[in-house]
């Protein structure tokens, strides 16, 4: 018997001929495709966000949004090590990454107090010198004579603000909070199917879903295929600058969720999942960015099993029996499918997100990079600027954007060819076209996390 193969699952041809028709009908569905949601409990996370109304029509290809940068209190790092005696001032160079406006501005200001996070010592700033861009200096003097304010390279100096500024204190410099302007793009997704007339003649040999015509069936399949691809691309897409359209820098594409997390979020690698080790580390990382109390964990199959096994093994040594039936009946149905776990005051909703699963989605070997990936998505809404309910901006954690090019629909579909509903060609065929323009915004990307089993 021939070994059934899952590849190739499709191939490219100008149009569906007789042979292609049978393939396209996919008479017996042995793959995950087709009934992915009903049969395998697939959660189209991006699709659900869309259904929940987390979407926005965009007039432009580029979409922008603004977020507050950093915290109410801020810090700078020391560029190099400087040692100083007790009570003696030292000259500190502000480290890289603490500048803006082309290296002309930085936070330290005369009179400001800094607490060295690494040593605990406190010093006051004077003689701020901003003449050399990207190499600002200031004098740091210990606030008590018995203390030294020596710094090592990379020490974090936490600003305590203008504190203990002294008698008859003078006016201080204005501190201007910074904001971040994020941007992303909408990009195009297209799917076309062309049937030649012989294939259309033969369609009558197949009964598709009772009285449904082949066209309905074909269209449903195309839509599902495209829906899955959109889900995948909204997660995986990256901005491009090497495509052949226009000049090499013209086409922007979009950054999917993973690309935005890779640039502006967090990532953690582990070799072995432990409920108390990895989750503790995750929790520390999330706490460091003021993350909310509930997360959706979208895990590929392998890390999903890791998480499940780890909970079963580590929590009470797996001695809990999870009953589904009643004791009066024939014993217990053991169920060890953990839907969520609450640890360290944070609830994690556990989902096997097949989109990341190269084995499930593509029938590939499952040894690729994404088969080991989990994405941790913060839940709930986030609030923006504003003082009260009326002025506050409340946004979901992610928002799908779409464009309606030339006044079309969100998903635009049309027919063409000699056998189209409104014939518009001389060739005896019918083409079905699906097209959509999508993008995604991640609000507070720093609170998103990817974990990767290495």
């Amino acid at each position: 018997m021939a070994t059934p193969s899952t590849i190739p699952a499709s191939f490219s041809a100008p149009q569906i001929t007789r042979y292609g028709l049978i393939n396209s009908l996919n008479v017996i569905n042995v793959t995950a495709f087709g009934e992915i949601v009903q049969k395998f409990g697939f959660v189209p996370y991006m699709g659900l966000n869309e259904l929940a109304g987390n979407e926005e029509k965009s007039d432009n290809k580029q979409v922008r949004w603004y977020e507050e940068h950093g915290r109410a209190m801020s810090f700078v790092t020391a560029a190099g090590a400087v040692s100083g005696a007790a009570g003696a001032p030292i000259t500190v160079h502000v480290g890289a990454g603490n500048y803006w406006a082309s290296g002309t501005l930085s936070m330290p200001s005369n009179g400001m107090l800094f607490r060295n996070a690494q040593t605990g010592s406190i010093g006051q700033v004077s003689n701020v010198n901003r003449t050399v861009p990207n190499d600002h200096t200031f004098t740091l003097t210990p606030t008590t004579t018995a203390q030294s304010v020596s710094v090592s390279a990379g020490d974090e100096l936490l600003s305590l603000g203008f504190f203990q500024v002294g008698g008859a204190s003078d006016v201080t410099e204005t501190q201007i909070p910074t904001i971040d302007r994020y941007s992303n793009y909408n990009t195009e997704l297209r799917w076309d199917t062309t049937l030649e007339d012989l294939a259309m003649m033969e369609k009558v040999e197949f009964a598709c879903n009772g009285s449904h015509t082949f066209f309905t069936f074909q269209q449903q399949k195309d839509e599902l295929r495209q829906y899955l691809q959109r889900e995948y691309n909204l997660m995986n897409s990256t901005q491009s600058n090497n495509l052949s359209y226009g000049t090499s820098t013209n086409e922007s594409g979009m950054d999917g969720v993973l690309a935005q997390v890779a640039a502006n979020g967090q990532s953690l690698n582990y070799s072995q999942f432990g409920t108390q080790t990895v989750m503790a580390q995750v929790d520390r990382m999330l706490s460091a960015v003021g993350a909310p109390g509930e997360y959706d964990v979208l895990a590929a199959k392998l890390p999903f099993q890791d998480i499940q096994n780890s909970i079963a093994n580590e929590i009470n040594n797996g001695a809990i029996i999870y009953a589904e039936g009643t004791p009066q009946a024939d014993g217990y149905d053991i169920k060890a499918n953990f839907k969520s776990i609450t640890m360290y005051n944070r609830k994690l909703n556990l989902t096997n997100y097949q989109i990341f699963d190269e084995q499930f989605m593509f029938g590939a070997s499952g040894t690729g990079t994404q088969s080991n990936l989990s994405l941790w998505v913060p839940r709930g809404k986030t609030t923006g600027l504003g003082q009260n309910e009326k002025t506050q901006v409340v946004v979901p954690r992610m928002c799908m954007t779409y464009q309606q090019v030339a006044g079309t629909n969100k998903w635009h579909m049309w027919q063409s060819g000699g056998y189209a509903e409104t014939p518009n060609g001389t060739i005896a065929n019918a083409s079905y076209h699906n097209i959509a323009y999508f993008g995604v915004k991640l609000y507070g990307a720093i609170q998103y996390l990817t974990t990767f089993r290495q």
Partner: protein, 311 residues
């Protein structure tokens, strides 16, 4: 690491170059900071940071703000003799465990690590804004970062994963930056001090508009030097530009011609052939011949130099 250079001793000077004791060297190494930096930059996906209400701004750091490297796994230990074998070298389980003198799991037995040891935040290998600094005295942390499969300098990788971070050699970086600054200085100095002839010759290579005034050409010339100093320095010293310049002005001047007799370079006034041509670009071909020490091309070049310099 940079090699320390010792100034030659002069009589009467204290011996500053005296060799340091082993203890001194060790304590210097222990206080040294090692800087690991992420490799992947995300310029296109980063937000623009700006002051309130103002347009513009800049990207703060091109790196992912938080990155946690794997802190346990399998690694190749060249000194390890696996059970049942006599030769050195084998895979070994490692785990960065704060407070233990070894990173090898089979050696972390005295005392047996407690659960608290295992879950301690001190075992994290966390990069902040793309950087992780480690002191020399954190020997096991250094080891954990350097035998990591994600480390660009990992001697023997056990997993087929892309390198995620590298160890910065501060001395090397300083040297490179210094060289770049020197290059820039040399290039600009050469551009400012070049004679008109040198400026035309090298300017031709950079495709400057020679119909403009000398001051305008000089301005463009300096801009070219600033834009790519190393290329400028190379081309400034390249004799081919000088050859090509003289051949070109002679062609423009109709003193020599490659079209009068097809396939021949002729002296126009005397109507005598000088050499055979294979291409239509007379200046380029003659310059290449001169570079290759062709006696006829060099003789013509000397003649042209005398003619146009008025010597």
């Amino acid at each position: 690491m940079a090699t320390a250079t010792v100034a030659p001793r002069r009589p009467g000077n204290p011996n500053f170059g005296k060799r340091k004791s082993e203890d001194q060297k060790l304590s210097e190494d222990l206080n040294k900071q090692y800087i690991f930096q992420l490799l992947k930059e995300h310029h296109r996906s980063k937000p623009i940071t700006s002051k309130f209400g103002e347009a513009g701004g800049e990207i703060e750091s091109p790196y992912q703000p938080y990155y946690g490297a794997v802190n346990s796994g399998l690694a190749w230990d060249p000194e390890y003799v696996p059970k049942g074998k006599t030769t050195k070298g084998g895979t070994r389980r490692w785990r960065f465990l704060y407070g233990y003198p070894s990173i090898w799991v089979d050696e972390q037995v005295d005392p047996e690590p407690s659960k608290e040891d295992l879950i301690s935040d001190r075992n994290d290998l966390k990069f902040r804004n793309g950087v992780l600094r480690v002191f020399g005295h954190e020997q096991t942390k250094l080891q954990a970062l350097m035998l990591n499969d994600a480390f660009s300098g990992c001697v023997r990788k056990l997993k087929n994963i892309p390198a995620e971070y590298q160890l910065l050699d501060q001395d090397k970086i300083d040297k490179e930056v210094l060289e770049a600054i020197d290059d820039a200085f040399e290039a600009e100095k050469a551009a400012r001090e070049a004679t008109i002839e040198e400026m035309y010759a090298v300017g031709m290579f950079f495709g400057l508009d020679m119909t403009k005034s000398d001051d305008a050409i000089r301005k463009q010339f300096i801009v070219k030097a600033r834009t790519n100093p190393s290329l400028f320095n190379r081309e400034f010293l390249n004799p081919k530009n000088k050859y090509k310049y003289f051949f070109k002005i002679a062609v423009d001047d109709n003193y020599i011609s490659g079209t009068m007799v097809p396939g021949k370079l002729q002296l126009v006034e005397a109507n005598t052939p000088i050499l055979d041509l294979k291409t239509e670009d007379v200046a380029e071909e003659c310059a290449m011949l001169a570079m290759g020490n062709d006696s006829k091309a060099l003789a013509l070049y000397d003649k042209l130099v005398k003619k146009y310099r008025g010597e």
